[in-house]
Symmetry: D2
Subunit: 341 residues, 4 copies
């Protein structure tokens, strides 16, 4: 079978590196170019840990779009849109954008929001895909079954902790080892930008009878509807996101019904599974999996959900989307050994 020819823009960053670590072992992929102006001519393994011995490929300043079937945008947020204004990508080349530039649907673009658990068919038929954010993926996977069932009728308490790789490659005060190790802190309290895409999906899935989910970043805290009260934390580990979502029902519910609802929702999902046991983060680290677990206390449903922020929360999901877009096995190149320790 003909391989998928892939180009990568922004290949020297964290997501670029993790994408390369996946694609060098992907059985159906041929990496045509890994673009990085500043690293052109350098070996990929000189920049990205763990690739020595896997590939002798070098970064290039070239962008031969005519030689590829798909191009991954691994730019920082805001740069994808800017890049497209200055460069023409051939119409027959698919685009998978890691940034948030096209995650919110708009008449001005045709990007499909690439969460396979809800958009598999659209993904399979699209040319342009906006890959979801890391927190957004994990939180949505915890809330979507309840949203679809119309159970979201009160404000939702969400807290989620992320590893340091979420903050990118550039050294900063909050990623300085001396500060971050053994530390724990909160940031962007109630105002994290992923609220946009989370609210978009919740409103997309909810029945008309359920209340509007307010995007407080756009609509403020006094708008009519329910809110997602999202508390993001910085953890002292490199990989992974652990989310807890507390849903308040109108009436107490039976735990078995809720569990059945969640199990049914994710039946057939390639990488998202319901776990009967309490979660811990390392169950998914270095894999493309998401795990979801539910417990019920009176009117409160407590959902926990976990992913690896660089994989299911970024490039792993991007490769999953690529697989769907090209009609190959959804799991190709993604049967990863969990690091576990």
């Amino acid at each position: 079978m003909k391989k998928i020819n892939v180009g990568i823009l922004g290949a020297a960053g964290y997501t670029g590196g993790e994408l390369l670590r996946l694609l060098v072992n992907h059985p159906e992929v041929n990496i045509v170019f890994a673009n990085s102006e500043s690293n052109a001519g350098n070996k990929i393994y000189d920049v990205h840990e763990g690739l020595l011995g896997d590939t002798e490929m070098e970064f290039t300043s070239e962008m031969p779009f005519d030689k590829v079937d798909v191009v991954f945008f691994c730019f920082g947020h805001g740069k994808s849109e800017a890049f497209l204004k200055e460069h023409a990508i051939p119409a027959n080349v698919k685009i998978i954008d890691m940034a948030q530039d096209f995650r919110i649907a708009a008449p001005t673009h045709d990007y499909v929001y690439g969460l396979p658990e809800i958009h598999k068919e659209q993904i399979a038929n699209c040319m342009h895909l906006a890959n979801p954010g890391c927190f957004a993926t994990c939180i949505q996977l915890g809330l979507l079954p309840a949203a679809k069932a119309g159970l979201l009728t009160h404000d939702i308490s969400v807290n989620a902790i992320t590893g340091s790789t979420g903050a990118g490659q550039k050294p900063a005060a909050t990623t300085h080892f001396s500060w971050r190790s053994d530390n724990f802190s909160v940031y962007k309290l109630f105002t994290h930008q992923h609220l946009h895409e989370i609210c978009q999906s919740l409103n997309e899935l909810r029945p008309a009878s359920a209340p509007h989910v307010v995007d407080t970043l756009d609509e403020g805290f006094n708008a009519e509807g329910i809110t997602v009260d999202f508390i993001p934390y910085r953890g002292d580990f490199a990989r992974g996101i652990f989310c807890t979502e507390v849903i308040t029902l109108d009436q107490p519910d039976v735990e078995s019904d809720i569990v059945a609802l969640y199990k049914s929702f994710y039946e057939g999902a390639a990488f998202t599974h319901y776990s009967d046991k309490a979660l811990d983060l390392k169950q998914v680290v270095n894999t493309n999996k998401a795990l979801v677990h539910v417990e019920v206390f009176g009117r409160k449903i407590v959902v926990t959900s976990i992913i690896d922020n660089l994989l299911k929360g970024a490039v792993g999901q991007a490769v999953q989307n690529m697989n769907i877009m090209f009609g190959i096995d959804e799991k190709a190149g993604l049967n990863l050994k969990a690091s576990a320790f």
Copy 2:
């Protein structure tokens, strides 16, 4: 001035060790005995890291209560009460109990709940003191000002993460380094035993007009009143607790009023301070301090509060209580250098 003669029971455990680390440098204390059956005759520094060079004292199997002014119970939970049934402590010897055995007021005992921020006078006049739990201390310090002001009228969302020293000295699966490092997990979801003492204090401080705070462990989730929905997490660091408490008001409030309320409540507190800036855990690690910070979003007040679980959350607060009980400077022996890194 005559020094305070101190005896320690359970001196070979984590809290016993941390208490010894404090008391060897306490200017007003004379350590009379450090009791441990299993370690009798061993140097203290052979068991407790960091004490070589500070003291040549040995553990003893003796318990000369007639030679001390105060005895610290550093037993595991449940053992303090059992110990007192089998041993007589002279009436003129004060007791400071680290366990949860006497934290809930009852006609059967005269132990004062030792949270100086609300009970300073009772502490100063008591013979027997029940030292608060670690999570309980941190969560209460985040909620007490609002409770007293009658602002707790809806269910309260609490999540809190603790370091591994909270799990004690005995090796276990969840404190195994290979599992715990880089990991994050939830436990005792909505059912942590510290809810008892938290609810006791909130009900003690609230005005009669405010609703009853339901101790769901005793009263269940359907009782009349509001609940404290407490999600405890295990973090991959050794020391510290970071709590977030989300309070929902009846009406949106002005941030400056709430901040003023909190600042005023802790004015004059020896170790609990309001911080104008966002918190991170290492601001208090290895100190007896608690820091509290507040932000307001519409009807939601988000309080963050931090302590070192072994110090303000355990023996540091116990020494603070001892200082108050003996009428000496509340900060004696507790001007600790933050580790910071």
Copy 3:
């Protein structure tokens, strides 16, 4: 092609778990049984992190040796030999033993020491294989090229740091998170048991003109010859071994010659590569790779070598050996994504 039918004994331990994580994705392997008395009937993913969603297989108390081509012994040291005294393995079933029981050649057994970099042909033709130790693998890979070239003529300084997974699954004082995190310590100074197999290989490869390498554990420190002065450290990370070997030459040497010697020695090795740059541990974590780097200062050659202790230092190398023993691609099932972070 017919798959290799595999049985695993001791499947509930750390190495058993890591072996399962590899084999569930190995394209040429069919796992016939995973034996664990104490976990019989439990799902494998209930014991081993990271396997939920990958397999529904359960542990079994059965040992159907007639259904397998090869059996892996994942016992603790000393138990393999004991097991074989009580159980008969059919003569046509290959054995790969993870323990140290048969690593030292003896007339009483026919196990081949499974270090592919020096024994590839013997491995390809053997029925019984003793898989090398983790420290032993990493240290040998740093010393073997020099040994073969006759450059080991003075005592060799070796220090090596290992992650906590090297200490196994059973919780202990030295793997307690509260103690191990942010800590560093030394153990088995100059007396680590891997010296046996290291000395065996160095003596096997050295030319007759080079001095005998003394196994100080057997021969003492005053025997004629040179010694390997091995300082093992415990690190505060879960995976990986970083070794430094300092070789003293009779005469100063040219760096380029030594580097050429090392490069040439590992040319064609499937997983062991020479790196032109200084090493850091995460370059190999969660892979089966070994990296080696050399610098020269006067008469001193400083070699650094790194592996993942659970993979190239244990089950990764065991699977590599299995691949060689069955004549399939040496890298099958071992093209692992580095965790990198």
Copy 4:
């Protein structure tokens, strides 16, 4: 008693912060100014973790040298000498320099090398003091007793691992949490700048009969004498240095004699103690202590030595030196609670 009036230059850096954490609790010190151009007017606790509640002091751009008895230079290396060329410090103001600018004795300056274990009398009588480096302190404490006894007659193998705070406050690739956590790496192999001061002390203490210790940085690797082969490592913890020094004797020695030698050398030292047990780093973290332990194998003496790099390896030792220079209790302000966990 009149307090010591202290000024601090470079007060916003890591060592400045740690010095402030010590001095705010020093019973004999009055902090007159904490100079930082870039932070002038900011609260000290806004920059330095752990000081909220301890002091309301602000950074200043002033340098009122006429109001102080001693000034601490907390500059980066090279800046102390530059500063003194542009500023006049009154002759009656003592200087304690944290940088390496004046650690090597020279006719051009009168700075005393401030290692109290060998220079206590000179320190007591000096106006200007060069505080030793962190690695240098720890390695010297492991070697000085042997040097003085004339036991250093062969090349010495030294390896030492440092925490990330040794790399300073400025974020860099090697202090990025995502890279540093769970990682281990080597740097400045055999060429660390602290070799200068180490060799200076070893040559100062050795008897005339013992060979010259070659400073390979100045004299190269072929000079006559013995060398200190120093391998520095970067560890994945924030605080502490763990050193191992291997000394080769001419003849095998009796362990008890060597131990007695070390114990005797450090008898009376305020903070340096011989430990009968194997060391682990957390025994000294957050204290000003150094611990030393010795084991003997044939002709090899293995010494391990540990310190906190920011305290005994930097400002703790500086305060110890200040105490000696002002004739007060050597331990004043340095009775620190070990963090232990």
